[in-house]
């Protein structure tokens, strides 16, 4: 009986120790936010830059701190995930420019979207070294921006850092979903296929 009591006590202690911490992660909202960002970045027609005007000093100073590049007006996302901070806006703008420069290489199946939410060079053997350097530079820049974007979404929404891989995963879905037919994408099993 004494032994049985000890075992029961041990089991109770173990049960008490098995605390599960559930972190709420609005995956659906993040997916919507990701889709919107990816849409903004990959949409074929770049948005027209704001018209320059010589308005007052205050606006001018705003523009100075914004490096004379007040971005296009951003509507607040219709989701519960904050996807519009200065960093995210700047990153989107940067990614948009780089994405459109990289688009020909998507079409030549030189690069593709991997399962982790990043661009990957698949096969650059058909390019000369100058083009390879350009692809490498663009891919590095885009991936750097994407890394910053995922982290910015995580911090702007006060998600714990453990959530970061999920954010990347969700964005990976969006990037692959928005890829066009014939582009390389990597499925979740790690295999590369042409969409």
């Amino acid at each position: 009986m004494k032994r049985l009591g000890r075992i029961s006590f041990f089991c109770l202690v173990m049960l008490a120790a098995c605390v599960t911490v559930n972190i709420y992660f609005p995956a659906a909202d993040v997916q919507k936010a990701a889709d919107k960002i990816v849409d903004d970045v990959t949409s074929p027609e770049p948005k027209a830059p704001p018209k320059p005007d010589s308005s007052g000093w205050l606006l001018k100073q705003f523009r100075v701190v914004r490096n004379l590049s007040f971005g296009p007006e951003c509507a607040h996302a219709q989701v519960n995930v904050n996807v519009s901070t200065p960093a995210i806006r700047a990153l989107k703008e940067s990614m948009r420019n780089d994405f459109h420069q990289l688009r020909p290489y998507y079409e030549k199946t030189v690069v593709g979207e991997n399962k982790n939410g990043f661009v990957e060079i698949k096969d650059s053997s058909g390019l000369d070294l100058r083009e390879q350097a350009e692809v490498k530079r663009l891919v590095d820049q885009i991936n750097k921006d994407r890394t910053s974007l995922y982290r910015e979404i995580q911090t702007a929404n006060n998600y714990p850092s453990e959530i970061l891989p999920q954010i990347q995963k969700i964005f990976a879905n969006s990037w692959r979903e928005k890829s066009q037919a014939g582009w390389w994408i990597q499925n979740d099993d790690g295999q590369w296929i042409k969409k």
Partner: protein, 909 residues
């Protein structure tokens, strides 16, 4: 007259016919006596003549009968063994009168275990009487014989000298034979051995043909194993100890291996000519279908080796020569070669090789497994030619010259981030061994031109550019410093570079220096194109001047100690439209260590460095005759004298600059900064393009730079502006020169004349005095990311406090996004008033997570006011929806509306 057959009788007759015998007195007596004697002698002779054949017949019968008995033969062989040196045993034997012997179970073993041993299931010997008389064998047929040989330098080596005692054999047939040849732990087994030997004699040779299946096996895993077939023919003349022979031999191996190396489909065939002085193999051909080498996780697979040569070996002089060598090795391609040498003690040799069509891609694939793991994924391209010559004794004093020319050369790393292509050049390597072979001198000349280079994001086409390296040195594998050398480098004609050094097991020292390095060539050749893509603005930099440097890197106990001097002369930097620097010189002695370590006995205080700039201009900033003394030593940087500049009408003072751990990622810089009477109008005009009157003073005694960011830990920046004072505290910044730059601070202001502010920002005229703060201001990517603005009027100053209708309208737009109030204020009784008095202004604005909100600070009667009216009249601006929050984009749009409206109204008027 009688005749005598026997010589004895003849001599006797002659004696009797002597002159004295013919005397009359003695003649008769003697004649009788003689006849008697002759009769006796003839009788004995007759008996003897009859006895010899009888004896021979009897002896032959005994021998014949003996040869029918295995027992007797074995006994006789046992008795004869000490004389023969072999022990012979038979199981059964039959010997027919026609001299045809059949033997079963023949076994011949050496007494001393040093000779070859033979066992044979069945043997037949045929001969004739003549063969017997001449001690030779007419025909010997061995069926199922097994030969056992032991070879090698051990005491068990087979003694083959007994072969010289073999009788001549007119025809030897070996059927279904086996030979077991042992060498150390290796056994070569020939099975299904068939051979016919004709007219063999140890003295005159003979001719032979043979064929067998070869099986090689070894004890352990490292010995040779394999199987195949061999066949050949030999025509020998002369004695065995001085053989002369011609013939051919071929060996085909289906598969074989030794250790971790295996071959498939190897074949070796040759015609040979052996005489007393030399052996000649011509032509000797050697083919390897595939060669596989494995080890340490590496596998090399090479297919299609071929080699043909004339090989001669001089027996007396031990000279060996390979002439007319022609081969084809994957990667090296077809080649011709020659070799001459001797196997004497000093082993002199001379060799040459020419391969006019080297394929570097294939060649690199072959040697790739021998490279360190990180380089095995690399690839090499290009074609070229290889020439090699060498001569000398093996044990020292040899020399070798190697010349490799290449065209369309290139390389690519496994991840394709590094690559080069279309490179043309040559490598010439001369090796000279010391007299005892302990030190080898090398002389290396490398020449490369043209080509394109990709290194990460860096790309450059070096068409018509050239790199040359010339290096000499010594390699001494037995010494602690096993490699030493020196050389020169011509890098695209940018200056004179030289280097020297020693590499040792305990310590390595490398020295490099550059003289007259032309900045304009370095920049235009190495950087301009790259910057044109990555930082287009910087690509238009114009730079002149020269640099010298001397650097010594000493690697010891896992640390690298760097010492040297950098000297920059009369340099001009000009980035049109941005800045220009003239007359810049730098003298920078330094001593550093990596990884960082506390200063110890190894380090010492370095010399003084000095940066001199004769003239620096950026916009309206002009700095002349600036001298900055400092020290870079022991991984730290220290400013020896404060930097004082005249800046925007004021003074800039930088002092106490110290940097620690310069080679570490955690390097940290501390400094003190002060600004005195900086003219804000000049500063804002230069930076913002608009003049804002005021002055700036700053005292920041603790500014820290670390990990790409900086922060002020103590002190403040103070600006006199709009009649009041603005204090900036806790300034910080990060990645200031990147797109993601981030700056932040806390701002406190007081006594700000609202009329002067609104005159400047044209928000709408307001009068009064303001005070407040902007806390936690952060600007990221050039956009406000966060702030908390708290501003209120200061009633203690007893000045007029009014707000214009325009200002009310604009505040309304900012607060609500609506300009509806405009119609109220511009209608009815109100339209006669352009401004209203107020008693208080209190506004709170926050921007957080891109959400902007504006709130009133004045709470009365349940209402939240931005502006509270005066005592008798005035206007209240009330926040009706305190929860109203808008995005930063909306706020931006509202500000835009305010100023667009103003601009439009100006146009209308």
């Amino acid at each position: 007259m009688c005749t005598f057959r026997s010589p004895r009788l003849k001599r006797l007759a002659l004696f009797l016919n002597a002159p004295w015998y013919r005397l009359p007195s003695t003649n008769l007596l003697l004649q009788r006596l003689c006849n008697t004697i002759l009769k006796t002698v003839k009788r004995r002779l007759l008996l003897r003549v009859l006895a010899v054949p009888a004896f021979l017949l009897l002896f032959g019968a005994v021998i014949w009968l003996s040869l029918q008995s295995a027992f007797i033969v074995n006994r006789a062989a046992t008795l004869a063994a000490p004389i023969l040196g072999y022990r012979v045993r038979v199981e059964a034997i039959s010997f027919s009168p026609d001299l045809h012997a059949r033997i079963t179970g023949l076994a011949i073993t050496p007494l001393n275990d040093k000779g070859p041993s033979i066992s044979c299931v069945h043997a037949e010997v045929k001969g004739t009487l003549r063969n017997v008389i001449s001690a030779e064998v007419e025909k010997l047929v061995l069926t199922g014989p097994k030969f056992f040989f032991r070879l090698g330098a051990t005491g068990n080596k087979s003694d083959l000298s007994a072969l010289q005692n073999l009788p001549p054999v007119r025809l030897l047939l070996i059927e279904q034979g086996e030979a077991d040849i042992s060498y150390a732990t290796t056994h070569v087994k020939l099975t299904n051995l068939r051979a016919d030997v004709k007219n063999f004699s140890p003295q005159t040779g003979g001719s032979a043909r043979f064929a067998a299946v070869v099986e090689v096996s070894s004890q352990g895993d490292q010995g040779p194993v394999g199987h195949g077939r061999c066949e050949g023919k030999v025509d020998a003349t002369g004695p065995l100890n001085k053989p002369k022979a011609k013939g051919s031999v071929s060996l085909s191996v289906e598969s074989a291996s030794i250790g971790t190396t295996s071959v498939q489909n190897l074949s070796l065939s040759s015609v040979f000519d052996l005489d007393a002085t030399r052996i000649v193999l011509e032509p000797a051909t050697f083919n390897v279908g595939s060669l596989v080498m494995k080890g340490q996780g590496r596998t090399v697979n090479v297919e299609g080796y071929t080699l043909a040569a004339r090989v001669s070996y001089e027996l007396e002089s031990t000279g060996i020569a390979l002439d007319s060598v022609r081969g084809n090795v994957p990667g090296v391609g077809p080649f011709t070669a020659a070799f001459q040498g001797a196997l004497k003690s000093d082993a002199p040799w001379k060799a040459s090789l020419e391969a006019p069509s080297v394929n570097f891609t294939q060649f690199f694939s072959s040697v790739k497994p021998f490279l360190p793991e990180e380089y095995r994924a690399w690839s090499i391209q290009g074609a070229g030619a290889l020439e090699m010559t060498g001569e000398g004794p093996f044990d020292g004093g040899w020399k070798a010259d190697v010349k490799l020319t290449f065209r369309e050369g290139g390389f690519k790393s496994g991840d394709e981030s590094k690559a080069g292509q279309k490179i043309t050049g040559s490598v010439i390597l001369k090796l000279r061994s010391g007299p005892e072979g302990k030190k080898t001198r090398f002389d290396l000349a490398l020449d490369a031109s043209d080509g394109e280079l990709l290194w990460g994001n860096y790309y450059k086409n070096f068409k018509d550019q050239q790199v040359r390296v010339a290096s000499q040195g010594n390699y001494s594998p037995d010494e602690a410093s096993y490699l030493d050398g020196s050389g020169t480098l011509d890098l695209f004609g940018t200056g004179q570079y030289s280097f020297s050094g020693t590499i040792g097991t305990d310590e390595s020292v490398l020295k490099a220096s550059g003289k007259n390095l032309a900045h304009n060539r370095l920049f235009s050749i190495l950087l301009r194109d790259y910057l044109h893509v990555t930082y287009p603005l910087a690509s238009s930099l114009e730079i002149t001047g020269k640099t010298d440097f001397d650097i010594q890197a000493r690697v010891k106990e896992g640390r690298t100690f760097l010492e040297g001097r950098l000297q920059v002369y009369e340099t001009v930097l000009n980035l049109p439209g941005l800045f220009s620097v003239n007359g810049m010189t730098l003298s920078l002695p330094f001593d550093l260590v990596y990884p960082s370590a506390p200063a110890g006995a190894e380090s010492r205080e370095g010399g003084e460095a000095q940066l001199i700039i004769r003239k620096l201009q950026r916009g309206s900033i002009l700095v002349e005759d600036l001298t900055i003394p400092f020290i870079v030593s022991r991984n730290s940087l220290r400013l020896l004298k404060a930097i004082d500049l005249k800046l925007y009408g004021g003074e800039f003072h930088l002092s106490r600059l110290e940097g620690q751990d310069l080679l570490s990622a955690d390097r940290i810089f501390n400094l003190a900064l002060s600004l005195n009477h900086i003219d804000l109008a000049l500063l804002t005009e230069d930076v913002l393009g608009d003049r804002v009157t005021g002055t700036i003073n700053a005292d920041l005694p603790g500014v820290v730079f670390q990990s790409g960011g900086w922060r002020s830990t103590k002190g403040q920046l103070q600006a006199g502006i709009f009649g009041g004072v603005v204090e900036v505290h806790r300034l910080f910044g990060h990645d200031l020169f990147s797109e993601s730059r981030k700056i932040g601070c806390d701002i406190f202001f007081r006594d700000i004349d609202l009329e002067r502010v609104t005159r400047k920002i044209t928000l709408g005229k307001m009068t009064g005095i303001l005070k407040g703060s902007v806390a936690n201001l952060v600007i990221e990517y050039g956009q406000p990311a966060r702030f908390f603005l708290d501003v209120e009027s200061d009633p203690t100053k007893k000045v007029s406090q009014t707000i214009s209708v325009t200002a009310v309208e604009n505040l309304s737009i900012l607060g609500t996004g609506s300009s509806a109030v405009s119609s109220v204020l511009n209608s009815g009784f109100h339209k006669f008033f352009k401004e209203y008095p107020y008693s208080r202004i209190g506004i709170l604005c926050t921007l957080e997570n891109d959400t902007f909100s504006i709130r009133g600070k004045i709470h009365e009667e349940g209402k939240e006011y931005l502006v509270r009216r005066g005592w008798l009249r005035g206007i209240d601006v009330i926040i009706q929806n305190p929860d109203n929050s808008i995005s930063f984009g909306d706020m931006e749009e509202r500000i835009g509306r305010i100023f667009r409206a103003k601009k439009d109204s100006k146009k209308v008027s």
